[in-house]
Amino acid sequence: MSYKVLLCDDEPHILRAAQIKLQRNGFDVRTAFDGEEGWRILQEWTPDVMVTDYQMPRLDGLGLIARCRADEATRSLKIIMLSAKGYELSEAEIVATYGVSKLLRKPFSPRELLSHVQELVETGALAAAAGSP
């Protein structure tokens, strides 16, 4: 069974690059163009990790994360945020307030994204293994 990753970004080529990198490394990937679409997917499909952009039409990254944190099913979902924002977006604040695991600033390296996603699913798997017996 492969790990599932949901990607949300309004830039199609960013979405595609991340998708290719993750799929080629054995992840089951679904994509959304904005927060609303991402939320709709989350209702029927539970990913292990969600990677979301900060600025998106209709529902932005923080709005989507806030919804996730308010819902029982997605409360502990591991999230990586991507953003082209500069100094006005503080990683420490986002991590503390929204429980985001990592803020990756654009331009980002797909390799780096992959390693962060892998790290997250592995720690999740370890925690699950430790908790199961």
């Binding site: 830039e11 960013i14 690059a17 039409p57 100094y87 654009k106 331009p107 980002f108 390296s109």
Partner: protein, 502 residues
């Protein structure tokens, strides 16, 4: 008057009495022949009486003269005017008074005394007039300073070394919401409106040497509007040594409204932030796909081609963004080299049409041209108007769904010529119709449809309105489409205007 009559009576008496005595004496001598001794004695007595009478009348006459001199002396002194005394035209001597009369001495002394007093009085008057003039000048100066202060648009307050408010102009009263005349207290510390700037003023007050303290504060005026002020508190040391050292100096605080500067700073920061954000997005694409290619994530030739296509496309986007930015900056700074020449608008439009057609075809959009059959002469910078036309056309193609149409139209309208790009896209809301001309503003729906820099329309507006004196307008119906129209003055009119300007 009474004295005068008395004097006359004495004079008459002094004449009549001796005359009567002499008459009696003469009668006695005439009749002495046959008269008795008694009668002789009577006549002798009469002679004595007459002598006494003569002596008395002489004394009385002299007294009358003295009296007259005294009266004359007093009269002269009373009549003597200050000016006469000053000018020394007053008679130094008493006319009609014998030279030996002691009244001359009295008169001279009194005259000198009066003269001295008169001089002192005139000196005092001159001093008083001088002081009055000085005081009026000070009053005028004070009024002028007060007028200037109250006329100043910038608020100014001043407090003394005790921390009590001594001056607040009208602008300061409006800003801080109190009236110096009617305020219950003038102690700065007790005026809540002054609280934000208190520390700065206190700091300046504590200084032992002349100097100033500057701070920036966001203050709420009486109407509740928030504005930024740069407050300069200048400490003024007492000039005179007599002023006791109260552990501080007087302070004047000037408030300068810097809301506009702050706004510009904020907008600059936002602009830089927006530019960097817009640049990072295509950069992110380039970096990601270069890395994918380097990592061998493209299995086949087709995927490799796709990746290279994305890299090229994003590099183009970055280049467009930089060019648009530079063009906007150059136009805004007024350094863009504009070479306006009379030419055919339709020629420019046809060129733009052919440049955009491939992307319309790729998206299966019917791009139609409906150009005026007339020769539309415009005096424009060809490259700039071509850029504006391309920006409108490529926007229309970008934001119109596949299968729909875009029309490029040109017409002549009186002295103006116009061209417009009509699309059948999603349309713009009332709010968006204004905002699309702001830098980096992107309509949410548009973001879903295509990548953009948010600079195309602001640049076109600059080109048309600032460089060519034309107008770029938009009309739009939601879900039916938008029409962007560029109106330009016809060549004839433009050349007249240029000729007049030159």
């Amino acid at each position: 008057m009474k004295t005068h009559i008395k004097t006359n009576l004495y004079a008459v008496g002094s004449v009549i009495l001796p005359a009567a005595a002499l008459l009696i004496a003469w009668a006695a001598v005439q009749s002495s022949v046959g008269l008795t001794e008694t009668l002789f004695r009577c006549s002798l007595l009469s002679i004595v009486l007459a002598a006494v009478g003569v002596y008395t009348s002489v004394v009385l006459a002299r007294a009358a003269v003295e009296h007259q001199a005294a009266c004359r002396c007093l009269e002269l002194l009373v009549r003597t005017e200050d000016e006469v005394l000053r000018n020394s035209t007053a008679p130094a001597q008493l006319n009609g008074v014998p030279a030996a009369s002691p009244w001359h001495v009295v008169y001279a002394q009194l005259r000198q005394r009066l003269k001295d007093h008169s001089e002192r009085l005139s000196e005092g008057e001159m001093m008083r007039a001088g002081l009055k003039l000085k005081s009026r000048r000070f009053q005028d100066k004070l009024e002028r300073i007060e007028q200037i202060l109250s006329g100043l648009a910038d608020p100014v307050v001043a407090c003394d070394e005790y921390g009590e408010l001594i001056v607040a102009n009208r602008a300061a009263e409006q800003l801080l919401g109190f009236n110096v005349q009617t305020a219950q207290t003038r102690i700065l510390r007790e005026l809540t409106a002054c609280t934000p700037v208190l520390e700065l003023i206190d700091d300046a007050k504590r200084r032992r040497s002349a100097g100033q303290r500057v701070g920036e504060f966001e203050l709420c005026d009486a109407d509740g509007r928030k504005r930024w002020y740069r407050v300069t508190a200048v400490s003024m040391l007492a000039q005179d040594a007599e002023t006791p050292d109260m552990g501080g100096s007087r302070v004047v605080a000037f408030f300068r409204d810097i809301s506009v500067e702050k706004d510009i700073q904020k907008r600059n920061a936002e602009f830089v932030s927006a530019v960097s954000h817009e640049m990072k997005t295509p950069l992110a694409g380039i970096r990601a796909y270069v890395e994918l290619l380097a990592d061998g994530d493209a299995d086949d030739e087709q995927t490799r081609e796709e990746f290279l296509g994305v890299i090229t496309g994003q590099a183009d986007r970055l280049q467009r963004l930089v060019e648009n930015l530079l063009n906007i900056a150059r136009i805004e700074a007024g350094v863009v080299a504009v070479s306006k020449e009379s030419q055919s608008l339709n020629d420019i439009l046809e060129e733009a049409f052919h440049l955009v057609q491939p992307s319309a075809e790729a998206k299966q959009i019917e791009l139609a041209s409906d150009l005026s059959p007339m020769y539309l002469s415009v005096r424009v910078d060809r490259d700039l108007i071509l850029q504006a036309a391309i920006n409108l056309l490529s926007n229309a193609v970008k934001y119109t769904p596949s299968g729909k149409s875009v029309v490029l139209r040109s017409r002549v309208d009186g002295l103006d010529v116009w061209f417009e790009v009509e699309d059948t896209g999603v349309g713009l809301s009332e709010e968006d119709q204004h905002k699309v001309f702001e830098k980096f503003y992107r309509v949410q729906k548009d973001k879903e449809m295509a990548a953009g820099t948010g600079l195309g329309l602001p640049l076109a507006k600059h080109i048309v309105e600032d460089v060519h004196g034309g107008r770029l307008t938009v009309r739009s119906v939601a879900d039916q489409g938008s029409t962007f129209r560029i109106q330009l003055p016809a060549a004839a009119k433009v050349s007249t205007a240029v000729g007049a300007g030159a």
